[in-house]
């Protein structure tokens, strides 16, 4: 993946800025080694590394990128492509400036509190007016940068909202801060005036903490998307010209060369050569598999040994790995029902609280109260529904990020809501509960053919199929097939030497059910106009399946198994895993209606599958998850994708979704309760401004911190 590895920009002073991602940076020592080594190169002006995002930035003058790259490679690292994400850059800048604002507000708050406490401590006996004025002037000096630098972010947002004709949460916040500051300014000027600098500073500081955490949550989220992109090279070596070409410019059918140590740049079929390929990114299986001519490979898998020519089959945006990243991005757009409602209410809410605050002010003014303006301000602060508007979105952002790390890519946040309600899981058999690594056990020939002839025909037919079954015949590939067709969930058919062969379940092959030979496993029939041979395949149960089902049973979940295979094989697997409810010989449509029937009897069903034949069932199920799919169709149908084929993670997912719902309920309850409780008190004039500031900012902080409890998905011990 040599020279497409990085983004390089040339600066005005002839300084070349190189940015790259080094996925195998795993600790501080790695970053320090890279820094040390690069700094020794002449021509390197500045090196910066970031452990968290695994990025390296180098400024060089007078030397080429290749020099820097080979230096890093010599250290044993493999620099990868890195697209500078404008969004991520902006977010990083925003975090930094937010940190500066937060720091200034924090320091300011501490100082102002100190001056305020001196005055409070003096109590009723009073402090000498000269000292009190000194404290007030000092507080004013400290509060000015807080109000005009730290809080400026609120005014900017508020101004943007007003210009757009909306009223966001920042409008009342800005009014409160500026009005509080102005009232205090008047207080400093007059002889016995009250000041509220401490409240203003505290309000600003605590609100900024909430914003800062929220910003970091969002940044982590985008960091993750970036990491999932890094493993695919952005350029590929064309077979014809031996030149490196941008993958985006390749046409379907283009042939590229992939050598040992390189990462597959495209989804396609091997046309020449063989290689040991690790599909770690998709299956979690680190053991390399041998891939030969005619077999599919996925972009992002690593070619460890060998040399292959790969023909690109689909456009880059349909690469499985790109689809995964896209699904993950899509999940940002989702707004849970409640958040939508909160957004809609918020608009009116802001108008209502402005009205409420002015009414309270007018009432107390007419009643002759001295501090009518302060009461109005207190009402304004206390009634701000910031916490309510943060309650759900923050929780979902944290949850989706955590799930991504856990190995579950969620397409919509709604998935988490739905999984929490699941009480029944329906599993596909082959490839889901079992490993789908089928081995050929036996061939029972019915007509005058040899075993080899049967297998050659089957192998030729299965070339068109992507079903795990087809893998068992990968060694038999000599005959050419015409009009080959794969009927999803049933079998394959095609013309070989002008004879139409059908291979699959008996009902598919000859149109009627005939008795299978004795013996465990899957029996498939090869037929022309008459039955020719039975082929017996055996599949192994996926490790973790049994433990998962046991966990489901003990936690009150129902489960069942649907399979397109024969009754005897279904029986065997069901007995191994002690599944009471299973249905065999099902077509994709039957799977679908079986789920609909279950749903009619008040079951909330999640479909767990892996192949195209489960897509329809996934569509009707309440929730659906695909286990390390190799087809974008399956990814499209399922709402979530389990990246590493570790089925026991489903237990963790079910458990976690309940936790997410719980946290969201707590957040909403707290936010609503806070507003309902404190608004009457504020209107009655029973709240001090600092109490209002504390209450309001703490309620925001509470929901954000509560949401960050969801940071990690606990692996359930099975």
């Amino acid at each position: 993946m040599a020279s497409a590895v990085l983004t390089a920009e040339r600066d005005s002073d002839n300084v070349l800025q190189i940015a790259m991602q080094v996925p195998d940076i795993s600790c501080a020592a790695c970053t320090l080694r890279i820094e040390k080594s690069l700094e020794k190169l002449s021509g390197v002006e500045r090196v910066r590394t970031n452990l968290a995002s695994k990025t390296v930035y180098v400024d060089v003058c007078g030397i080429s990128e290749e020099t820097v790259l080979s230096n890093i490679r010599q250290l044993g690292f493999s620099p990868a492509s890195f697209e500078r994400d404008a969004e991520l850059d902006a977010l990083a800048g925003e975090t930094n400036s937010m940190l500066a604002r937060l720091g200034v507000a924090g320091i300011g708050m501490m100082q102002v509190m100190m001056y305020a406490i001196a005055v409070y401590l003096a109590g009723d006996s009073g402090i000498e007016p000269a000292y009190e004025k000194l404290m007030q002037w000092a507080s004013l000096a400290m509060t000015t940068p807080v109000v005009f630098y730290s809080a400026a972010v609120f005014y900017r947002n508020a101004w943007r909202d007003i210009k757009a004709g909306q009223a966001g949460m920042d409008v009342p916040v800005s009014i409160a801060i500026l009005a509080g500051f102005c009232v205090s300014l008047v207080g400093v000027g007059s002889e016995f005036g009250e000041v509220y600098f401490d409240s203003v500073c505290m309000f600003t500081f605590l609100l900024l903490i909430g914003r800062f955490i929220e910003l970091n949550v969002r940044r982590k989220y985008f960091d993750d998307i970036n990491l999932s992109n890094t493993f695919v090279p952005t350029s590929a070596r064309l077979e014809v010209t031996n030149e490196l070409v941008n993958v985006g410019k390749l046409m379907i059918g283009a042939r590229v060369i992939v050598r040992a140590g390189e990462v597959m740049p495209v989804d396609g079929v091997i046309r020449q050569g063989r290689a040991d390929v690790s599909e770690m990114a998709f299956t979690g299986e680190s053991m390399p598999l041998t891939r030969e001519t005619g077999q599919r490979v996925l972009a992002g898998s690593e070619c460890l040994v060998g040399y292959v020519v790969v023909e690109m089959l689909v456009e880059p945006k349909f690469f499985v790995i790109n689809k995964m990243a896209e699904l993950f991005r899509e999940s940002t757009l989702y707004k849970p029902l409640f958040a939508k409602l909160a957004d809609r209410i918020a608009k009116y809410f802001v108008a209502i609280i402005l009205l409420l605050a002015s009414l309270a002010g007018i009432y107390w003014y007419l009643a002759g109260a001295q501090d009518w303006f302060v009461i109005a301000l207190t009402v304004l602060v206390v009634s701000c529904p910031c916490a309510l508007s943060l309650a759900t979105p923050v929780a979902y952002t944290v949850a989706i990020t955590a799930l991504r790390r856990f190995g579950v890519v969620v397409r919509t946040g709604e998935f988490i809501e739905k999984v929490a309600q699941i009480n029944h899981l329906t599993f596909d058999k082959t490839g889901t509960l079992t490993q789908a690594k089928l081995t050929l056990e036996k061939v029972v020939v019915l007509e005058s053919m040899t075993r080899a002839q049967v297998l050659e025909i089957c192998g030729a037919l299965e070339k068109v199929s992507r079903h795990p079954l087809a893998m068992a015949f990968k060694d038999f590939d000599t005959l050419t097939v015409d009009k080959a067709k794969s009927e999803v969930g049933l079998g394959v058919s095609g013309l070989i030497h002008d004879v139409l062969y059908r291979f699959g379940s008996a009902s598919f092959a000859i149109g009627e059910n005939i008795k299978e030979p004795e013996g465990e496993g899957i029996w498939l029939l090869l037929a022309s106009d008459k039955p020719l041979a039975w082929v017996n395949l055996r599949d192994e149960v996926r490790p973790g399946s049994s433990a998962l089902l046991q966990w489901l049973r003990s936690h009150g979940y129902g489960y069942s198994m649907l399979t397109g295979d024969s009754a005897s094989e279904a029986q065997r697997v069901a007995e191994l895993l002690s599944i009471d409810s299973f249905e065999s010989r099902m077509t994709p449509l039957q799977k679908m209606s079986s789920i609909q029937q279950a749903q009619a009897t008040s079951d909330v069903v999640m479909m767990v599958g892996d192949g195209v034949n489960d897509a329809a069932a996934m569509g009707v199920a309440t929730a659906s998850i695909a286990i390390s799919p190799v087809d974008t169709i399956v990814q499209e149908a399922a709402e979530a994708t389990l990246m590493k084929a570790d089925i026991s993670k489903l237990a963790g997912l079910l458990d976690y979704s309940k936790k997410v719902t719980r946290v969201i309920r707590q957040n909403i309850f707290w936010a609503v309760a806070y507003n309902l409780l404190l608004i009457p008190l504020a209107v009655a004039g029973l709240l001090e401004p600092w109490q209002a500031a504390l209450g309001m900012s703490f309620s925001s902080l509470f929901v954000v911190l509560n949401a960050t409890r969801l940071r990690a998905v606990a692996l359930v011990n099975l």
Partner: protein
């Protein structure tokens, strides 16, 4: 107690210096990667002094 009239302005000056230094350090990117700096102390400097000339076994790396 007259000293207060002197000390409070002095404290203000110090605080503004602190603020300036803090804002400078944030803008300078000192807070961008806290993990690395936290772990740096665990590694000896000379251990990291590696030869950049090609080594017989360039694939080795320590994790």
């Amino acid at each position: 107690m007259e000293g207060v009239f002197m000390l409070i302005p002095v404290s203000l000056v110090i605080v503004f210096m602190v603020i300036t230094v803090f804002v400078w350090s944030v803008k300078n990117g000192q807070y961008e990667d806290l993990d690395k700096e936290a772990q740096r102390i665990l590694f000896d400097d000379d251990e990291l002094d590696i030869d950049t000339t090609p080594s017989p076994n360039p694939k080795t790396k320590d994790n």
